[in-house]
């Protein structure tokens, strides 16, 4: 594993982050520091607050309390061109082809050349000349195109929410390899996923969330022991 140019100051700092939707507390005081150049796998059961955390980092949710600092700035608008976001919905227009989608979203980031779009689409393993509208893609293709959209502006930080869900094994493995490559270039990646096994050996840190808090951070992932599985059954 090539070591990236290590940043000594954390790339993302979260202190006492609380997010409540009415009476439901999705985040109950999350405090953490994340160093740059690493791939973080964020794991946890449904309802643990993983998606809420990612969305709050991406500036899509306003925290009820607490502070976030990304690349030293507390206002998301200041660094929005350095963050890429991907969610479970594709965030793409179903009626346009992949190239058309990326050309449009590229404009939002000031990317006016098609070459960059073609390059990114190729890097996720798709054909830039495919004229089929995205709505007709398979799930694997759609997730990859969605990832391409997030990568388009070469962001320093990637926030990916369940990029591998419903994706076939080969596509998922390809995406993981791509993410590892991007991480090796010095980018910081956060992946929320239920499929932790995919990231074994690739992720630098596994962050476990439970009911709105980070309960554990480790460099290795161990699936629950057999006794635990039996106890649940």
């Amino acid at each position: 594993m090539v070591s990236s140019q290590s940043n000594t100051s954390p790339v993302i700092t979260v202190s006492n982050l609380v997010k409540q939707f009415g009476r439901f507390a999705a985040l109950r005081g999350v405090s953490a520091e994340f160093a740059g150049g690493k791939l973080y796998a964020i794991l946890g059961d449904n309802g643990a607050g993983k998606t809420t955390l990612l969305r709050t980092l991406a500036g899509l949710n306003h925290p009820t309390r607490g502070e976030i600092s990304i690349l030293g700035k507390s206002d998301f608008r200041d660094i929005c061109d350095q963050v890429g976001y991907m969610a479970h919905p594709s965030l793409l227009y179903d009626e346009m082809s992949g190239m058309e989608n990326l050309t449009y979203f590229g404009r939002l980031y000031g990317i006016n050349e098609q070459a960059r779009c073609r390059e990114v689409i190729s890097s996720v393993g798709l054909d830039p000349d495919l004229s089929r509208p995205v709505g007709q893609y398979s799930q694997g293709m759609r997730q990859r195109m969605s990832l391409a959209r997030a990568l388009l502006h070469d962001p320093k930080i990637l926030l990916l929410d369940e990029p591998f869900s419903n994706v076939d094994v080969h596509s998922a493995a390809d995406m993981v390899q791509l993410l590892a490559k991007i991480r090796d270039l010095g980018k910081t990646i956060f992946v929320v996923t239920h499929q932790a096994a995919l990231l074994e050996g690739v992720a630098d840190e596994f962050v476990w969330m439970e009911t709105g808090k980070i309960v554990d951070r480790a460099t290795e992932f161990h699936p629950p022991t057999r006794s635990a599985t039996e106890a649940r059954a």
Partner: protein, 256 residues
């Protein structure tokens, strides 16, 4: 605070009774002495007395909506929760007073002109105002966002900017399509003016009282909600995993 409220309430009640009595009759005999009330109007007769409810309600509603506008702007700039509560209460009470105007208007118009409605400028602009602020209240009711106050404040600003345009458009409409004028255009008898102003004072005090109660009620409701939310936050989640040992150690399975 409680005593201030009660004393103010009593004063308001007295003003309301006084205002209504002097509006209802030219001369009132009360316990030995005589009150001089509003004289009977020449052309319309006693029906005109509804004017003393109709006009002060309108003025009170306009003032309340103006306060709503200011509170909304303050909220948009400062995100001050008290401003939001003031905006909510003034809108609610304002709509009530608007309703009074819209109900007393036709009641007045029917016996006098034989019609239920007229494009009188005050009546029509009150109707549009009523519609705008009912829409405002509906937005507050139907909004599923956590940022309802922001949306509502934006709508209130739109509504307030609309008011002069509404007024002007109806005024201009009337000059092209002359209509009966309610409220007696032109000069007004000073005794009538006196009764009008007393009633306006009474209504304003009453509006203030209701807004104050509503404000307190809403403030308490929000405090309760916040406490409940904080409680939910502090609740230890069921079967929380003990300690912060390494994931690698054999530990009970993740709770479902």
């Amino acid at each position: 605070m409680k005593w201030t409220f009660r004393i103010f309430g009593i004063i308001t009640l007295c003003l309301l009774i006084y205002g209504t009595s002097i509006a209802s009759s030219p001369v009132i005999h009360v316990v030995g002495f005589t009150l001089n009330g509003a004289p009977t109007e020449q052309t319309m007769g006693d029906v005109q007395r509804i004017f003393y409810y109709h006009v002060p309600s309108a003025w009170t509603a306009f003032i309340l909506f103006f306060i709503n506008f200011v509170a909304s702007i303050v909220y948009l700039i400062r995100r001050n929760p008290a401003a939001d509560i003031i905006a909510l209460t003034t809108a609610e009470v304002g709509v009530v007073f608007c309703t009074v105007v819209l109900v007393t208007g036709p009641i007045w118009a029917r016996p006098v002109w034989g019609i239920w409605w007229t494009w009188d400028i005050r009546l029509t602009s009150t109707l549009v105002l009523w519609l705008i602020y009912v829409a405002y209240l509906m937005l507050r009711r139907f909004s599923s966002s956590g940022q309802t106050p922001v949306l509502a404040a934006a709508l209130a600003v739109f509504g307030a900017l609309d008011v002069p345009l509404v007024y002007f458009s109806i005024w201009f409409f009337r000059t092209q399509h002359p209509q009966p004028v309610m409220g007696g255009g032109g000069s007004i008898d000073p005794r009538m003016l006196h009764v009008l102003l007393i009633n306006w004072l009474a209504f304003s005090c009453f509006a203030f009282l209701v807004c104050w109660s509503r404000y307190r009620l809403e403030k308490i409701r929000r405090e309760v909600e916040e406490l409940q939310a904080l409680e939910a936050l502090a609740d230890s989640p069921p079967a929380q995993r003990a300690g912060s040992g390494a994931i690698g150690s054999s530990s009970p399975g993740r709770p479902r």
